[in-house]
């Protein structure tokens, strides 16, 4: 007679997870919900970006379907063309000037105005809407208003009289880009005020009370409580303003009639339009685009690190 006794305690058996289950995770339904946006991102952003990079390394032009064309790999030739073209280099300098004016102005004005609009002021709702209207209005319509204001015989010059700049604002090489930066700041302000207004709701009231008890002035309170309190929003505002500004196109196209005067307000995206669409060299335009994307990524990364560090 034999007896069998279990001498070792075995771990309870675990059902082996299939590869599919591992891939789908514990909540497979989540993938279904996330899929539409993932597909949207892949189709609208990732694929065109990848294609643009591919185009920038080839001798590429748009051709009719079925047309037999050669698109040989040309290495860095398009990049060499771009980096040795004074018009392209100038457009990058121009947009750098634009960003230097536009981004700090946007941050300061939107934070200050959001703080004011967050406090109990009369006609607060009206003011909030007023600041937001330019953001939702078509640039083409707003440009017409600014042409009326800053044109040679515009309202601003009439008010300034003999103090009006000569050449006038929009045909003055030194003033055209600052006017555009001012225009874009004004137009986008409503959106950034909205971001700051949301951020201000998260600043604890107790901090203001504590600073008041400590004898801080309103300005001191603003600098020591509000500014640090909305820092995450500031990072977002700076990055968004940088990205939007780097994509500047409509204003040099309409306000200064094609990047004038004498190329003083051309932007990289405007040059991309000229090269890629008008002149039929999308390969060169793609190279400008890739350089612009890299530059914006670097600037945004540096801004983020600087703003997030104490």
């Amino acid at each position: 007679m034999t007896t069998e006794t279990k001498t070792v305690e075995e771990a309870p058996p675990v059902a082996p997870r299939s590869r599919l289950a591992t891939l789908l995770g514990r909540q497979p339904l989540g993938i279904v919900f996330a899929a539409p946006y993932a597909v949207f991102l892949a189709a609208i952003f990732a694929y065109p970006l990848g294609l643009a990079v591919w185009i920038s390394f080839h001798d590429y032009f748009f051709a009719a379907p079925g047309a037999q064309v050669e698109r040989p790999f040309v290495g860095l030739e398009n990049y060499t063309t771009v980096l040795s073209d004074p018009a392209v280099l100038r457009s990058f300098v121009n947009v750098a000037k634009f960003l230097v004016i536009n981004v700090p102005l946007t941050v300061v004005l939107s934070l200050v105005l959001a703080t004011l609009l967050n406090s109990a002021v009369r006609a607060r709702g009206f003011l909030r809407v007023s600041y937001y209207i330019p953001y939702v209005t078509a640039s083409v319509a707003l440009v017409a208003v600014w042409l009326f204001l800053f044109g040679m015989t515009g309202l601003v010059n009439q008010l300034l009289g003999p103090l009006a700049p000569d050449p006038s604002w929009l045909v003055n090489g030194g003033l055209a880009m600052p006017v555009i930066a001012l225009f874009v700041t004004w137009k986008q302000l409503g959106f950034f005020i909205l971001l700051y207004l949301a951020a201000l709701q998260n600043v604890p009231k107790e901090l203001y009370e504590a600073s008041s008890v400590d004898g801080a002035s309103r300005f001191g309170s603003f600098m020591n409580v509000t500014v640090p309190g909305v820092r995450p929003a500031t990072v977002l505002v700076v990055i968004l303003a940088t990205i939007t500004g780097a994509n500047l196109f409509t204003e040099p196209y309409l306000l200064t009639n094609g990047g004038g005067p004498d190329g003083a307000s051309t932007s990289p995206v405007f040059v991309m339009y000229q090269k890629g669409i008008e002149q039929g060299t999308p390969d060169v335009a793609a190279a400008i685009g890739v350089i612009l994307v890299i530059a914006v990524l670097i600037i945004s990364f540096v801004n983020k690190r600087l703003l997030e560090s104490d």
């Binding site: 748009f62 009719a64 079925g66 047309a67």
Partner: protein
């Protein structure tokens, strides 16, 4: 079994290659008949003409129905057409094909050479005469039919001239010196803000309405690029550039774009226009017309100018190219050209225009001077990178002539080098 697979593969490959090679003007495609689509310019007078022409065609050819529509909205017609070529949905014919864009459309594989149609080249040449040569592509074929021109001349406001103390019936505008003196009198007297107000903006095509007409006149009909080399870095180019530089530096022509139509608003005494201006300004401005000036005051009957032509091309996406070609001949026939002239005031690009339509010019003498000028026009050069060349020129011109940042001779020299380089590229 293996041989069946091989045969099937070969067949599929052959069909694929045949399909790939079917763009452009294969003999089957150029004779195919059927319904087609065409695009018209969005100018109301041209739409009216186009719709009437299509109605007439459809009544006579019910099996080859033509559907016409305006060119879809876009920044420029050329961008829309270029996008349609790439997408493969270009119409069969576009009655607004800019000659400057033809080399690009051709490179895209978007156009059918008219020479591939039976008697194609002969039709183009017999209708337009020697001027057709300007529209021939570097490969020796016609990818466009020269359709109509708007020869550029100087319109002047007689009331402003009179206010400035200048003879309104015969203002001195023949030489550069006369033009400058007249301009100074207009501005100094306060009769108008500007003597003339060409768009001082940076778009590639703006030089067609300031530098190029005067350059054509000064050189007796030389194109900006000939034999793949820029021609404007010359004494004639220098004289024209200096003339305009003086207009800008003395404030006779403003450096900022006009907020509206400066000529119609009375802000400018003169304008650079084509015959379309007769209908546009009509009775609202007391106008007169003069040829563009030259340095020496060339006789009007010898003056050349820019044609500002718009042409028609057959696009390779068209499946019924045979019908497209027949419609093209119908739309550019003597009868339809006469109707175009009557309805739009634009000059069909055909030889002996005045003698072909004597009744029209007798009834509309205002157009006679444009018809005469139409026989001496210069087109934009039909060369590779045409638009890039014009943009390079415009950038240099803006810098030196309009804004005075560089000297005109330096600007012309550098633009000429760039233009020659671009024209020589494949």
């Amino acid at each position: 079994m293996r041989s069946i697979v091989m045969a099937a593969t070969t067949t599929v490959l052959a069909l694929t290659l045949a399909a790939c090679g079917d763009s452009g003007g294969s003999s089957d495609a150029t004779t195919a008949k059927g319904p087609i689509k065409i695009w018209l310019s969005n100018n109301p007078e041209e739409i009216a003409w186009g719709e009437a022409m299509v109605e007439e065609w459809n009544a006579a050819n019910p099996d080859e129905k033509v559907t016409a529509q305006e060119i879809p909205a876009g920044t420029t017609s050329e961008e829309v057409i270029g996008a349609a070529i790439t997408a493969g949905n270009a119409p069969c014919l576009v009655f607004n094909t800019a000659p400057a864009a033809v080399p690009q459309f051709e490179k895209q594989g978007g156009l059918v050479p008219l020479d591939t149609f039976d008697g194609g080249a002969n039709y183009v040449e017999s209708r337009t005469g020697a001027a057709a040569e300007q529209y021939k592509s570097p490969d020796g074929q016609y990818y466009q039919i020269p359709w109509k021109s708007n020869p550029v001349m100087i319109f002047y406001n007689k009331d402003i001239m009179e206010k400035a103390g200048i003879d309104p019936e015969n203002p001195p505008l023949a030489t550069y010196d006369e033009f400058l003196d007249t301009s100074r009198e207009v501005v100094d007297s306060g009769a108008a803000k500007a003597a003339i107000w060409p768009a001082p903006t940076s778009e590639f095509f703006q030089s067609w309405f300031d530098f190029y007409p005067l350059y054509a006149a000064e050189t007796g009909g030389t194109q900006m690029v000939e034999d793949e080399a820029a021609t404007f870095d010359s004494e004639a180019g220098q004289q024209v550039a200096d003339f305009w530089a003086t207009m800008y530096s003395e404030g006779l022509a403003p450096k900022e774009a006009a907020p509206g139509d400066a000529f119609a608003d009375g802000d400018s005494a003169m304008a650079v226009v084509g015959p379309w201006a007769v209908a546009v300004y009509g009775d609202s401005v007391n106008w007169g017309v003069a040829p563009v000036p030259t340095s020496t005051g060339t006789a009007p009957e010898e003056i050349y100018t820019f044609s500002d032509a718009k042409n028609v091309a057959v696009y390779s996406a068209c499946e019924s190219q045979g019908t497209a070609w027949e419609l093209l001949k119908f739309a550019t026939s003597e009868e339809q050209d006469g109707k175009l002239l009557e309805m739009t005031g634009q000059m069909p690009l055909r030889e002996d225009l005045e003698s072909t339509y004597p009744d029209y010019f007798k009834e509309n003498p205002d157009y006679l001077i444009f018809a005469d000028q139409g026989s001496r026009t210069v087109e934009v050069p039909n060369v590779t990178n045409s638009i890039a060349i014009w943009q390079a020129f415009r950038d240099a011109y803006s810098s030196a002539v309009i804004f005075g940042k560089t000297s005109t001779d330096e600007a012309l020299s550098s633009a000429a080098d760039e233009a020659t380089d671009l024209a020589g590229q494949s």
